[in-house]
């Protein structure tokens, strides 16, 4: 066996690996404490893999791939998979947690103080961070906490101070933990829950609703109405009344069906879909046409000032796009904007509030942002075409137009198709320009959902998930998945076409 000297690089490697492992152990302990077993398993496997890869001397490619791939798995693959999962649930406002949480929340929300019951003197006690009430009654001391119903404890030495390991909370800590104490509900078997408002006395509270665990129903004894699990993560009464909150359940393809069949969502969705294609397609087409035109006009090596033109024309591309969009929002302001007030001599064209003018405006601004990029691309791609090719064609008597159409353009398209496809995909999801310029507006007043005439699919998702009053993550994720399907199909078709062009 060859003797291995401990070189500096090896020491550094071991040190880094040690830090990684230490962090992993810390994470594993924390995750175990929180009982997040899925994450615990993922972390364990990941750490083991990292150690195997870097401690061995083989698997060299893996050494170079591991850091990027781990980040990719966590922040890209996992979130995509989660989005796919959430698309099949009713996750959103009012459907956040488990059924157990929902039942507890429903019962707690309907609790009222039991009439006629007197307030009992209590002491607030604590054991290992867990808060509880100690009730000293004729039958002896009883202690309970949020998770332990009230039960008798033996009080050593006649006093109750150290009963069962519980410690009476001193005044200072009571003040510090006020919120926790007033939120504490200690179940009294068969009677209800004890709650306190002053940490000195507690009263019995009882929910006006009854949950029957075996029948899985919630009943309101006063009205006799029974609420049943309706299969959509809610307790619903036969009359249609539902209890809030609900919980998260699988709803199958319901979200997708809603998008595709519910007339109040399908119509705006289709409108947005068509506009998204138009916006992305026109953006690519117009910027490419303008960029190519400029590249052809200015792309003469002997033209003086070419470098100056290029330096100046690259500026809109270098100017951060979100700032450009905000800037144009000001320039296009109907009353005070530069375009109306100065260029149009005091006109009042509603650039951003008329449905069609707004579409024109976002397109124009996006072309302004994007044409320098295409100019650079085309300049580079034209320079890459061997001059001998075009010279030969010219000697054969081809007109400049014919040289362009039959030689330059096909070669240009072959080398720029991947860029065009990527630009299309980018503009398909060009959230910034829309959000900063019009916010998707002007809003379509006839539509029941918040959607405007310049909304792209991506800003529609944003509004579904985060805007407005009712957040519907499940529906938003379903639209995300649909968008992904569209982009994937287009991109694959584009790349296949690119490969054919390259091969020919």
């Amino acid at each position: 066996m060859a003797a291995r000297t401990l070189s500096g690089a090896v020491v550094a490697k071991l040190a880094v690996l040690g830090v990684v492992d230490a962090l992993a152990v810390y994470g594993l302990v924390a995750l175990g404490g929180r009982r997040s077993w899925w994450l615990f398993a993922a972390m364990l496997v990941g750490t083991a893999a990292v150690n195997v890869i870097y401690l061995g001397s083989r698997r060299v490619p893996a050494k170079y791939l591991a850091p990027g791939v781990i980040l990719l798995l966590v922040y890209q693959v996992y979130v995509v998979l989660y989005t796919g999962y959430a698309a099949f649930t009713n996750y959103g406002d009012g459907h956040n947690g488990t059924k157990q949480d929902a039942v507890a929340a429903i019962l707690a929300a309907s609790e009222t103080r039991v009439p006629g019951a007197t307030a009992r003197p209590i002491r607030v006690v604590e054991r290992d961070g867990e808060l509880g009430f100690l009730v000293d009654g004729p039958g002896g001391a009883r202690v309970g906490s949020a998770v332990r119903p009230l039960e008798p404890v033996a009080a050593p030495g006649g006093g109750v101070a150290g009963a069962g390991g519980w410690r009476t909370l001193p005044y200072g800590e009571i003040v510090a933990r006020q919120a926790e104490i007033t939120a504490l509900r200690v179940p009294v078997p068969g009677e209800g829950n004890l709650r306190t408002s002053d940490a000195v006395t507690a009263a019995l509270y009882r929910s006006t609703l009854r949950y029957d665990g075996r029948a899985d129903t919630v009943t309101d004894p006063r009205t006799g109405v029974t609420y049943r699990d309706d299969g959509h993560g809610r307790f619903a009464a036969p009359g249609g009344a539902v209890l809030s909150p609900g919980w998260k359940v699988f709803v199958g393809f319901e979200n997708f069906l809603t998008v595709l069949t519910d007339p109040s969502i399908r119509a705006p969705f289709l409108g947005v879909l068509v506009w998204t294609f138009a916006f992305a397609g026109l953006s690519v087409g117009l910027t490419f046409a303008i960029g190519l035109g400029l590249a052809l006009v200015l792309g003469r090596p002997e033209l003086r000032g070419l470098r100056v033109y290029r330096s100046l024309l690259v500026l809109p591309y270098a100017f951060p796009a979100f700032m450009a969009a905000i800037l144009w929002q000001g320039l296009l302001n109907p009353d005070h904007g530069f375009v109306n007030a100065v260029l149009l001599g005091g006109g009042h064209l509603p650039w951003l509030t008329d449905p069609w003018l707004a579409k024109l405006s976002v397109l124009a601004v996006n072309v302004w942002i994007g044409f320098p990029y295409m100019f650079l691309i085309c300049t580079g791609a034209l320079q890459a075409i061997p001059p001998a090719l075009t010279e030969a064609a010219q000697i054969d008597g081809a007109s400049p137009w014919r040289v362009l159409r039959e030689i330059k353009l096909p070669m240009l398209l072959a080398s720029t198709t991947p860029v065009l496809v990527a630009t299309f995909a980018f503009n398909f999801n060009n959230f910034n320009v829309i959000y900063m310029l019009t916010g998707g507006g002007p809003r379509d007043a006839r539509s029941p959902v918040d959607v405007g005439s310049t909304d792209l699919l991506i800003s529609l998702v944003y509004k579904l998930a985060f805007g407005g009053s009712a957040r519907n993550y499940g529906l938003a994720c379903a639209v995300s998945i649909l968008i992904f399907a569209v982009i994937a199909a287009i991109s694959l078709a584009g790349f296949r076409r690119a490969r054919r062009l390259e091969a020919s």
Binding site: R300, A318, V419, Y473
Partner: protein, 283 residues
Amino acid sequence: MGRWFLRYGWRHLVGAAAVVVALFPLVFVAAASVNPSGTLTGSNDLFADPTAEHYRTLFTDPLHPFGSWFANSMAVGVTTAAGSVFLGACAAYAFSRFRFRGRRAGLLGLVFVQLFPQLLAYVAIFLLLSELKEVFPAIGLGSRLGLVMVYLGGALGVNTYLMKGFFDTVPKELDESAQIDGASHAQVFFRVLLPLVAPILVVVALFSFVATLNDFVIAGLVLTDPDQQTLAVGLYQLVSYKLGQNWGVFAAGALIGALPVLVLFQFLQRFIVSGLTSGAVKS
């Protein structure tokens, strides 16, 4: 004269027109930043009676911590750019120089995963980071490092392709002769290859810096404390409430915020043109 115009003059006319279209909004924003009125209406008189008032307000008004926004954007941008270049270059080296099982599938998988923009998954990103906050607060919700990690999750993909293409153009004989001289694969990577592919490293760094600077949604989602926010989130909030009054201040902020990128682009133009034609995009 007439012949000169037919050959070159009209080209200069077209070029000048394009320059005017490209520059007038930028000239306007520069003018608004030194216009004393600070409102949209007043800013239409370009460069009348210039003042540095808005720049002063930008850095002194306690309502908006512009200095922090700028520093945050630069820190997040530079860290993300450096990380993206490093991770991308490592992956490109593996794909370009080694033949291993799953290589083709890996390359294809990278493209496919990247087709799903992170922007579309922000619900999941939000939940992931709020879970991480409980275990590793340093990379959870509200942490700038956490935001960088999210960006680095997308560091492979397009960058790897771009870089792999460039790595492939460097003759393999170079690494082989270095290895014969006793260099380890790490030495070949850091000492031989990386210096030779510097242009593509610069381009990838610049692109991920610009993309980071432009991100509004994820940055806004992760960073909620005003002192931690980036320029995109901060400046948008600055103008979203009362555009008219803050116009001058926004203009000043936009110019300062854009300056680093504008300068970088001018210096790195040569690299960008060659990098762009290898198939990069602004995203």
